[in-house]
Subunit: 411 residues, 2 copies
């Protein structure tokens, strides 16, 4: 073991401003309610295996060249599949030549941030949003302002106020980052009219929109509205999506779509010599029919897990836990009474095998998210969901007095 | 097509210091002597397909969780395979817990640079080296000093002089970046004694060594010496390798090895939620036996292509082209007479379908590389190699008068 070697002579050569050291990974907690993990039984193993064989035998020789003889935007058949999927499912017509295959949508976030943001720049995000996006903005030294949300996503009146306020101060926000369909963490869906208003505000104030549609394929309630990007006639919207949630998160295949004048400036920032080719090939081979079947089944399964978590929350937390029932996806955003500090709760809970996302990490204003939390239900089975929520309620009651009474089920 | 949309309103929001815009990809040139592309017939399609099926059916459910239930260092069976491969082939014993799976060795370079280097820092590289590494150092604002090479790699006497000179100036170089086995671009192999001297110099001057062993599995002449990392008892060496050259470049699977005190600081900089899982699973399943068989066959094929290129160079350029015959790998480093400017030659050649790496881009001192060039022979077949070298000689003669006489073969 390297730990037994004597002195480490080169740690003194590291940069002085690095983030804290990582710890050794110790496995998943028993009740894992964090992360974009998904239902393991729903991974389409047989189809993926058949696709792998078919595409390897037919086109595997292309693996010998960087970019699979498709160029740096990614494997062309995959880009064509993405275009077909977006046309069919999201009323979004786009040119495969403007689709960049990325290593997950995370790389899309990194690329857009790198292309647009300098320290001191300002962006607008949703008041509750993807914690990873907040973390990236923080480490880029960027100011972010949270736009208030309601059950339909960003409140347009409030956003207009924020934009006007910035304009009055002479600040040009670089973009509005939004997750309009199955919003993370609220699970809401922004209706069409509001999408149009959002685009119109962006136009009025000369800013861009960065639309993150990672969870949109997992919608189970209501029709999926057209993407904001599809309403855009000016190249004002940057769009990202992913197969992480609709097929499997470990695959690391996402995509970024932007008009070429912008994409041509972003592409040189992708310095990894391409995203994983085998995954691109297998997903392209998977194709639209399998995709549709897969997300239909997966979404039904996830709705069942969501129902189980909603029931468990009502049973265990009663009126102490407020939440919108999500319209799709893999998480619930819960508001506890003001006095609860979920950052502290998360620390205690993880030591007892229950992992939760404290609201402060998922909030533009950490203080206002302090009594909120996000619970993911995609990976644990229903029994684990029930037991985990019960255990979380017990820990929360012991630590904070909330919920004030014991749950209804036997302990 | 997006090109037909009216005005692009958001390019004004991009950072002002971005690299130049990318052009649309137009396909590979007819004679493609650049890039780490490999022999297409040697991609082990059937085995990869069989591995994909076996591992997906057995463990594919793990795709539902980020990091395949192996944690952020990467898929554990792959790390175990890498450890076994390095023990067997490079006399390098390392702990799978200290192996980080990366998205190609390029990501390893990015991670090490990010962890160690700030603008104004100094590193030592080889006078001829991987152009991508030079590009990364340049864009990081780092000073790099080229250590002279001979047919055995870095000249130790010259390196000692450089280190002493820096010490006299109070400059602490962060690391020495070396490709000791199948050096890029010279194809040389550093003997064991020199590896020990290099390590000893690094110790004396308190610097680190970054050992890039990407091409080492493609050695065909002589025994493979132990890695420098295997000689290191102090955690002074950072080590990277890749499956790009030994299996297929499009896969994007590499690895970085460092002692945990350093690795624990590097790991938080890898923010991509893991490298592609399917590639990791399939390569792990591929395993040592298939790997050994594959590189044995591949190396024989590459040696054949190398022989073809050497013969074509001798035939077409005669005494005008000086080069060491590489001991492995996929490229030849050629020195033309002083008057030839290969940067200009490359521009003319590409317009006529011949792609070459101008020496300036592969040299620590661009000026001293101006009359050199790198030719890759991994991907084109022998006939293409012969025709391409003949065409290159014709262009070179027309543009520079060198080689002074026509080649021996019929035109």
């Amino acid at each position: 073991m390297t730990e037994s070697r004597p002195i480490k002579h080169i740690t003194n050569l590291l940069r002085s401003d690095l983030p804290p050291a990582a710890s050794r990974w110790v496995g998943f907690p028993e009740f894992n309610f964090v992360g974009g993990n998904n239902d393991a039984d729903s991974v389409p193993l047989k189809t993926l295996a058949a696709c792998a064989e078919a595409v390897l035998m037919r086109e595997g020789r292309n693996l010998a060249t960087y970019f699979l003889a498709s160029g740096p935007m990614g494997y062309l058949p995959l880009r064509e599949f993405i275009a077909a999927k977006l046309a069919l499912r999201a009323s979004y017509l786009c040119d495969p030549a403007d689709i960049l295959v990325t290593t997950g949508s995370m790389q899309a976030l990194d690329l857009v941030n790198s292309a647009f943001l300098e320290p001191g720049d300002t962006v607008i995000i949703e008041e509750g949003t993807y914690g990873g996006a907040i973390g990236k903005l923080k480490s880029a030294g960027v100011n972010y302002i949270g736009a208030p949300l309601d059950e339909d996503g960003i409140r347009i009146d409030a956003l207009a106020g924020i934009l006007q306020d910035l304009a009055d101060k002479g600040v040009q926000p670089k973009f509005i980052y939004t997750i309009p369909t199955v919003q993370n963490p609220t699970g809401s869906v922004m209706p069409l009219a509001r999408r149009q208003e959002l685009l119109s505000l962006a136009r009025q104030y000369g800013t861009a929109i960065f639309e993150d549609d990672c969870y949109a394929d997992l919608l189970w309630e209501g029709d999926r509205p057209p993407t904001i990007a599809s309403l855009d006639q000016e190249g004002r919207v940057l769009y990202t999506g992913s197969f992480s949630k609709s097929i499997a998160p470990a695959l690391r295949v996402g995509y970024l779509i932007a008009d070429w004048p912008v994409m041509s400036r972003i592409l040189p920032l992708k310095k990894d010599a391409g995203s994983g080719a085998l995954e691109q090939m297998v997903l392209a081979e998977f194709g639209l029919d399998h995709f549709t079947r897969n997300v239909t089944d997966l979404t039904a399964t996830l709705k069942g897990k969501c129902d189980a978590m909603v029931a468990a929350l009502e049973e265990q937390f009663g009126a102490s836990a407020e939440f919108l029932v999500p319209k799709g996806g893999i998480f619930i955003w819960i508001t506890l009474p003001d006095g609860v500090d979920t950052t502290r709760l998360a620390q205690v809970a993880i030591s007892e095998g229950v992992a939760i996302n404290p609201g402060a990490e998922w909030s533009a204003n950490a203080e206002s998210g302090r009594h909120r939390l996000r619970l993911c239900f995609g990976n644990p089975d229903k029994q684990t969901i029930r037991e985990g929520v019960r255990k979380l309620a017990e820990i929360c009651r012991r630590e904070t007095g909330i919920p004030p009474r014991s749950g209804n089920i036997d302990h």
